[in-house]
Assembly symmetry: C2
Homo-oligomer: 156 residues x 2
């Protein structure tokens, strides 16, 4: 009885989750997860970058929320979606992730740590004023670019 309930609950979750994503069928699950993760970086950085550039009115609460989101996202455990065997060499154009990410001497994890630090620093000032955003976004952008330059296929 208990086992049945467990299976029903698990099945319900899997079904619910599976049905939740419009257009979410097909594709490598790890790739989809990391692209979703990047999409959420983009969303929150878009708000902060837009405010820094004056394209979006500065709103302290919204800036803080976006920066807190970004910091929380950088702190997620991404091991399950940077799975070995899911590089561009393995999967083709579905992903731009280069095999160097998984190679010996890879600095991808280290750069991830730099992004995490930069995002935490950004979150510590984002709610203060618009002028604080730009300087704090700099190191975030540097970490993004450092990883993309080395570990992301550029011609796609």
């Amino acid at each position: 009885m208990k086992q049945t309930l467990v299976l029903l609950a698990a099945a319900a979750v899997a079904t619910t989750a599976g049905l939740a994503i419009a257009g979410g069928h097909g594709g490598n699950p790890a790739v989809k997860a990391r692209q979703a993760h990047m999409q959420l970086y983009q969303h929150n950085l878009g708000i902060l970058g837009g405010m820094a550039k004056g394209e979006i009115d500065y709103d302290a609460a919204a800036a803080q929320a976006a920066a807190d989101n970004l910091a929380a996202l950088t702190s997620l455990n991404q091991r399950s979606y940077w799975a070995p065997g899911t590089s561009r060499d393995d999967l083709g154009e579905e992903t731009r992730a280069l095999p160097a990410i998984w190679a010996e001497g890879s600095k991808a994890g280290e750069i991830g740590g730099q992004l995490q630090e930069a995002a935490a620093e950004l979150a510590s000032v984002a709610g203060m004023d618009r002028e604080s955003l730009g300087p704090a976004l700099g190191p975030v952008g540097q970490a993004c670019q450092a990883c993309h330059k080395e570990y992301r296929q550029s011609d796609n």
Copy 2:
């Protein structure tokens, strides 16, 4: 000089973020962000549900990581992507989000709070053993379904 640096930094971030997403062009940004968020729910729930059902070998660290991720995701501030004017009535088939989400008396936020609680509870047991997963996944699935039943277009 300082202002130029700020703009350069902001532009670099926006460009980096913008280029980061393969196939991320077009579409409503709020819709893309919430679908990405759901994708990450799905990813982490897929791991936990798979372990509960015995389709994936139970791994305490991986289960804990997925549950911690899920709890962190439920705690993100989603206000910027559940933006008014982005329902199915507003945007068409791009989204299944019904206008009732934004209507007076909406319980979407309340259900979100239930999901957050259920995910925190799940994270408190996920690293213990496989048997703990199913019962803790139940309330998570219930919150998913409660929101989808009421607030998501079903025929898509």
